[in-house]
Amino acid sequence: MKNNTVKSAEIKKIYMDHSATTQTDPAVVEAMLPYLTKFYGNPSALYSIAEESKKAIDRSRETIASFINASPSEIIFTSCGTESDNQAIISIARLKKEKGNHIITTSIEHHAVLHTCDYLQKEGFEVTFLPVDGYGRVSAEDLKKAIKPTTILITIMHANNEVGTLQDIKTLSSIAHKNGILFHTDAVQSIGKVPVDVVEMGVDMLSSSAHKLYGPKGVGFLYVKKGVPMKPFMHGGDQERKLRAGTENVASIVGYAKAIELAKNSYEAEAIRLRNLSRYFVEELDKAVPDVVFTGHPTDRTPGHVSCCFSYIEGESVLLMLDSLGICVSSGSACTARSLAASHVLLAMGIDVTIAQGSIRFTLGHENTKDDIDYVLKHLPGIVDKFRKMSPLYEK
């Protein structure tokens, strides 16, 4: 057991937590800088440096809108993915209250959606949390059955952050529309990784966040289809067509557009590269470590996303050992690593609660190579073995 400490010379830094956040791309930082140092004028002001920041926002809106096949006027900039989710859900709930009080979502949403729905439930709204299958997919039949005359909104995430599984949004949104119900999707984990086309997907609202795709933290957008009503919940100035008051985060918006522009040119090739890497990783890991339960859909998932549970042990200990080797991963969801409960996503997928305690998520991105994976594969089996030998649940 002793001497597990590695000499510092051997320690690398291998970041495999791209679903938590990404490193801001240097080209993004470069694009942002002039809007902090030179064109710092308030976009609402009338002098020329302000004119430049206003134009930059307009250009950014166009770049982003075109990437998801929307019109620029359908994009509202927000402070993050969480705000976009809150804005969409709470706004529709308030505006459609006369029509009904029923909202449908899923049991595997990010807390930005789940806790927003809980909040509305406390206010008297009725919420249905749809179940998922063992891969984390929602069934069209379950959705149809859940619809009531009082249903005003359906919100279903595109890609799940913990297990990577993608939903068939096109089918699900068409069910909503046949019943005259608005459809929102949280696409925070999918934009820049898989095709996202709001027309093709048939969504009325869509949330996104820049920091998941090599953009800066603290900026997001909400796509709102023309004609869909919105009620602001930030009150103040006239920014964002009076839908989101507050002086715009100009530099971050510019950085967001730059990140989208970079993704546009590279994401298809990158998706193939990441899928190959993660396939190799899964195959080798499965060979090297017994009793690994891979979670999420094997193919219908975001590129580079590998999630699994190591039976008989607890995820945090594996995470910390990997950290001591310079490898950054997460256990369960990044946001719940400090809480004691097993992941709500894994439990909803029917994974045994004891097994769910051993969950680890590796999310690969731009800077990861096959060498990185080999480095992880070199150390991970020994770490798992060490903790299994320490576990009273493991009798071998």
Binding site: N4, S317, M390, L393
Partner: protein, 122 residues
């Protein structure tokens, strides 16, 4: 999140394993809650001659188990009984507040092992 001492006991835990013919064993926790602690003791002339643990749990749980075994090894049963959860946490130079319950498990599992030993003596 964890201090150096906790990390040390987590990375290099002392007294991991099982004892052949233990004089007392104590198990506490529930895998559903994410933690199970199993402690075994060997007692010679009223003194804890050997103690081993197995733990399924987070880093704090592993470090606490390791620490409690280190504290009580060589103690008399009477002394070992008095080792509190707080004493384990203090010996680890503190745990994050949300991880305090993990140290509770360690002292509780030890106490259970001691109780079992005492039962056998009757």
């Amino acid at each position: 999140m964890y201090n150096k001492k906790v990390k040390d006991h987590f990375m290099n835990p002392r007294n991991v394993g099982k004892i052949k013919n233990p004089d007392g064993t104590g198990e506490i926790g529930n895998p559903k809650c994410g933690d199970v602690m199993h402690i075994e003791i060997k007692v010679e002339k009223g003194i804890i001659a050997d103690v081993k643990f197995q733990t399924f749990g987070c880093a704090a749980a592993i470090a606490s188990s390791s620490m409690v075994t280190e504290i009580v090894k060589g103690m008399t049963i009477e002394e070992a009984e008095k080792v509190t959860n707080q004493a384990v946490a203090d010996a680890l130079e503190g745990l994050p507040p949300e991880k305090m319950h993990c140290s509770n498990l360690a002292a509780d599992a030890l106490l259970k092992a001691i109780q079992e030993y005492k039962e056998k003596q009757k």
